[in-house]
Homo-oligomer: 236 residues x 2
């Protein structure tokens, strides 16, 4: 079984206050809907799990019903966890509750605020999981990467050709993820905020999958501006 | 003396073929002109040296005359070198020819394709050089940074809070830069494409200066799109 998981924030993420970015709209449609659509149309996914803050679960279901009514049967919306990896664990727990968790269960996790992920990238993630237990979507670093231990003086400027910027999807054999995650101490869990890093730390191979500069994360206001112009261009 | 240096490419950079990005226009004004303006208005600069491909020297002078006629006396346009550091060395050679190279000569080098650099960033660079021989403008890494030695499997995912993305300006005590550069082997020169890295490799302290996400590098077509919308917003 191959599952998609759209990570849209956990229980504590921005309760009250601002609307989370994934619910902002591009051309009258929330970003998260674009992202769900990208996963929904992939035939290889048996099911797509959307994980969002508890107070957004019903709203997200409503959005799916409104914008992608066909998706209701293939897309499930559940609550995320406290941190990113807890959220992934919630997805795995859901799979387990369905009695579908085995050694070959693949989970393709993706940021809800990366609506421009392509079919090619998702396909390459699934393909990589035929050979490896985990993969990470990356692009070559466009900027020089600088390391500073103390935030004041440069410690190192590593060779740029070895440096990549992480995107998503990150894909995992779900059972393996669970095993590795359960073996972490609380302290390790605090530090290891990145799913792929758990595999790396535990000595497991994580394959690189080529991302795309277009597969951008909507973080800053100007990202939203770019995203809007990209969608307008697609429509033109 | 404090010099600004706008790095706009060397002798071999894109001879023929496409127009270099820094000569593309945003609202009818070439990007490089925006960048030169930012440096020209800084009172602390005694002179601003623009280094560009040989075939663009006259054109660049014409652009300055057309768009910033006041700048003619403070801005000089000369040919860049083969690589980035050669270009910086050309700037230093120019300063030396003017008889102005001493232990306190400061050179603030900046990418011509970062037109949104702010007064604050330039000021902080100059300030940092009062205490250090070099500084580098950076922002905290927004993406997870991934290291791969072989381009296939992840070697390491370093702790994100220690990782920064390099921007410019990079500022140097010019004489020190020259000394360090002259001490490099040809092989080292090939590898060390980043000016600040020369200082790091040679065990010299390089201070971090806070950049800004707005101080973006115009690399991809969508960067140009963002840049255009930023300029339109400023005008609005």
């Amino acid at each position: 079984m191959i599952y998609g998981a759209i990570l849209a924030g956990g229980v504590g993420a921005r309760m009250g206050g601002d609307k989370p970015k994934q619910y902002l709209s591009i051309k009258d449609k929330p970003i998260i809907v674009y992202t769900i659509e990208k996963f929904f149309v992939e035939k290889e996914f048996d099911e797509v799990i959307v994980l969002c803050p508890s107070m957004w679960v019903e709203k997200t279901k409503d959005l799916i019903e409104k914008f992608i009514p066909d998706a209701i049967e293939k897309v499930v919306v559940i609550e995320g966890g406290e941190k990113r990896n807890d959220t992934i664990m919630n997805a795995i727990q859901y799979i387990e509750q369905q009695g579908k968790l085995d050694d070959n269960t693949v989970l393709v996790t993706h940021d809800s605020v990366r609506p421009f992920v392509s079919h090619r990238i998702i396909k390459d993630n699934i393909e990589a999981l035929k050979q490896y237990d985990a993969c990470d979507t990356v692009i070559s670093a466009t900027d020089t990467i600088v390391v500073s231990e103390d935030g004041t003086i440069i410690s190192e400027i590593p060779e740029r050709k070895k440096m990549y910027q992480g995107q998503t999807p990150q894909s995992f054999k779900a059972k393996k993820f669970k095993e590795l995650y359960m073996s972490l101490t609380e302290e390790e869990k605090d530090i290891l905020t990145d799913g792929a890093k758990i595999f790396v730390i535990k000595g497991e191979k994580v394959a690189l999958v080529n991302g795309d500069t277009l597969n951008m994360k909507i973080t800053y206001p100007y990202d939203l501006r770019v995203a809007r112009s990209l969608v307008e261009e697609e429509d033109a």
